[in-house]
């Protein structure tokens, strides 16, 4: 875990680049530092591998003060990807990727295996690419090498300084997708600097928005989009994006919606459903785990059967922190009166009702068209 405590950075000419920064980077997550140029995002990142030194404050890496770690050792334990890729032109792809393992004096066999594994990870055939030189690769391929070079020695933390901003839009999209996919496998603490809000929203688990050397707001992308802290944040995010934000699932969830347990009888269930005047109800087992939905009309048709035979679970699993847009998609593809929402552990967290969603969408588009009338 990396913690910044009361970090100040003042340059010799008196310019204060960072003002009393307190920040914890979420472990195993993609932390995106974003802000206009000169906001201190790159400086903050470069503090972590000591390419820049801070004036005062403390940086703790796994509770150890960073200044106690030899800077060369520290850098070898952190992956580093930079905007201009910076592959070594005189070295083959193999030697480029193997750079840090070689510095750490891994044995040759292990290095070879690791390089092949990494090349496969980004879909570059080792046989074809191992012996090529950087100049023979396209920009997108070069930055793929840049990324796996940073991963080579299995660092727990990877610093990425606007890694995709020099690429063409198509390669950029591809690499963003690959990075999020890769992250699901590798679960590294990634500290990613960008000035591109679309990129931040797409890949971030945590966004840290900075301005003039201070943190303006931090949180999950949906959180920031839903509740911009102040005018600057609103402006930085851009009106367009804010208009397109749906409330998060957490905001839509009805946690007091009734549910029944597995050993409820069919008779009891019918009574319950009629009492609440609802047609569908989620079923949970004794531990609260979600089992499926039963429908009132199914029950009415076959009174004598066991409740368990009526449970159906045809909806895709919806979890609390899923993107609302995905929920909308499910909403369009699968017709149901209720959409049960599960926690990460598979317990029932509540439901979102169809009529409520319709209402919400109606409001959402009313707002949007209202706004566009204003602007035109």
């Amino acid at each position: 875990m990396i913690e910044l405590k009361g970090i100040n950075k003042i340059y010799d000419d008196g310019f204060q680049a960072l003002k009393d920064i307190d920040l914890t980077f979420e472990e195993g997550k993609i932390n995106v530092l974003i802000g206009p140029s000169g906001c201190g995002k790159t400086t903050t990142m470069k503090l972590l591998n000591r390419l820049t030194d801070y004036t005062d404050g403390d940086i703790l890496i796994d509770d150890q003060n960073m200044k106690q770690i030899n800077p060369f050792e520290l850098r070898r334990q952190m992956g580093y990807v930079i905007q201009n890729i910076g592959l070594f032109p005189h070295m083959s792809i193999f030697d480029n990727v193997a750079t840090v393992p070689k510095l750490l004096k891994w044995n040759k066999h292990k290095i070879r295996e690791r390089v092949d594994e990494l090349l496969n990870m980004v879909n570059l055939d080792p046989e074809t690419y191992r012996n090529r030189y950087p100049a023979e690769l396209s920009g997108g391929q070069q930055q793929r090498i840049g990324v796996i070079r940073a991963l080579a020695a299995e660092p727990s933390t990877i610093l990425m300084d606007e890694p995709f901003s020099a690429l063409d839009p198509i390669s950029r999209e591809q690499l963003q997708d690959e990075l999020t996919k890769l992250q699901q496998e590798i679960n590294k603490t990634i500290i990613f600097v960008t000035h591109d809000m679309d990129e931040a929203i797409k890949i971030a688990d945590q966004i840290i928005l900075m301005k003039d050397g201070e943190i303006v707001q931090k949180g999950a992308p949906q959180e920031i989009l839903a509740n911009p802290a102040n005018e600057f944040v609103t402006e930085f995010i851009g009106e367009d994006r804010l208009e397109n934000v749906l409330p998060s699932i957490q905001d839509m969830i009805q946690s007091d919606y009734p549910s029944i347990s597995l050993n409820t009888t069919v008779e009891q269930s019918i009574q319950l459903l009629s009492r609440y005047q609802i047609s569908d109800i989620p079923v949970v087992d004794e531990n609260g785990a979600f089992n499926g939905i039963v429908n009132l009309f199914d029950l009415l048709n076959n009174k004598r059967t066991d409740l368990k035979t009526f449970i159906h679970d045809t909806l895709p699993t919806i979890t609390e922190n899923m993107d609302s847009h995905r929920l909308m998609q499910i909403f369009h593809e699968h017709k149901s009166t209720v959409y049960p929402i599960q926690t990460k552990e598979g317990n029932l967290a509540g439901v979102v009702e169809r009529k409520q969603l319709v209402h919400l969408l109606h409001q959402f588009y009313m707002n949007k068209s209202g706004d566009s009338e204003w602007s035109s």
Partner: protein, 213 residues
């Protein structure tokens, strides 16, 4: 036809001394080139790390001044200082070689994409490790072209070393002028050209082998 047979005869008669002149020539050039590489490359590397621009431009200016002195004059200046023979000739030519080598190595290292240096730093190279594994190899094409150019110059300038008694192919040419012997002048010139071309070719091969981008 007669010309060719005569010339072959000349080679048969003078073979021994032609070889002596050639080896003298090679020795002077070789010592000058090795010496100047040994001095300028580390100096240029040091200069790229140097913060003080004034000292940097001073060094360049000094190297520049040597370059502007006419070769014959510089050799002549050596006589009161170091006498005649091998040592003053090597010294004068060494001073000549400084500038092209220094310039090329310096610009070579300076021209390395800063992102390469940053990547190397960020990956945990030590300063020395970075210099030898990344910066020098990346600057090699520039350094090599500096060495190639300088080598060709030095081979040609070494012919003048004969003026202060250092020998070499220049002796052959001077003697040719003295005796009005076309064969001697021609042979001296031809060999100087051939040596320069061969060395340039060899360095080119070497450069290709060690630089890949």
């Amino acid at each position: 036809m007669e010309f060719i047979t005569d010339y072959v005869m000349f080679w048969q008669d003078e073979y021994q001394s032609i070889m002596t002149y050639t080896s003298e020539h090679l020795l002077i050039s070789f010592v000058v080139i090795v010496l100047s590489i040994l001095v300028t490359v580390p100096l240029a590397v040091y200069m790229t790390k140097m913060k003080n621009d004034k000292i940097k431009s001073l060094i360049f200016n000094i190297a520049n001044i040597f370059q502007t002195i006419p070769t014959i004059a510089l050799l002549a200046i050596m006589i009161p200082l170091l006498g005649i023979g091998f040592a003053p000739a090597v010294t004068a030519l060494f001073l000549y070689a400084l500038l092209p080598l220094l310039r090329n190595t310096y610009t070579g290292i300076k021209s390395i994409d800063p992102s390469i240096v940053e990547a190397a730093k960020g990956m945990g190279f030590t300063t020395m490790g970075r210099l030898f594994k990344i910066e020098l190899p990346a600057a090699l094409p520039y350094v090599m072209s500096g060495i190639r150019v300088t080598t060709v110059y030095i081979i040609s300038w070494t012919t003048l070393a004969a003026l202060i008694g250092a020998g070499g192919l220049g002796d052959l040419i001077l003697a040719g002028i003295g005796y009005n012997d076309q064969y001697m002048i021609f042979t001296g010139t031809l060999l100087a050209i051939v040596i320069a071309l061969l060395l340039d070719l060899a360095f080119g091969k070497l450069e290709k082998k060690y630089t890949n981008a």
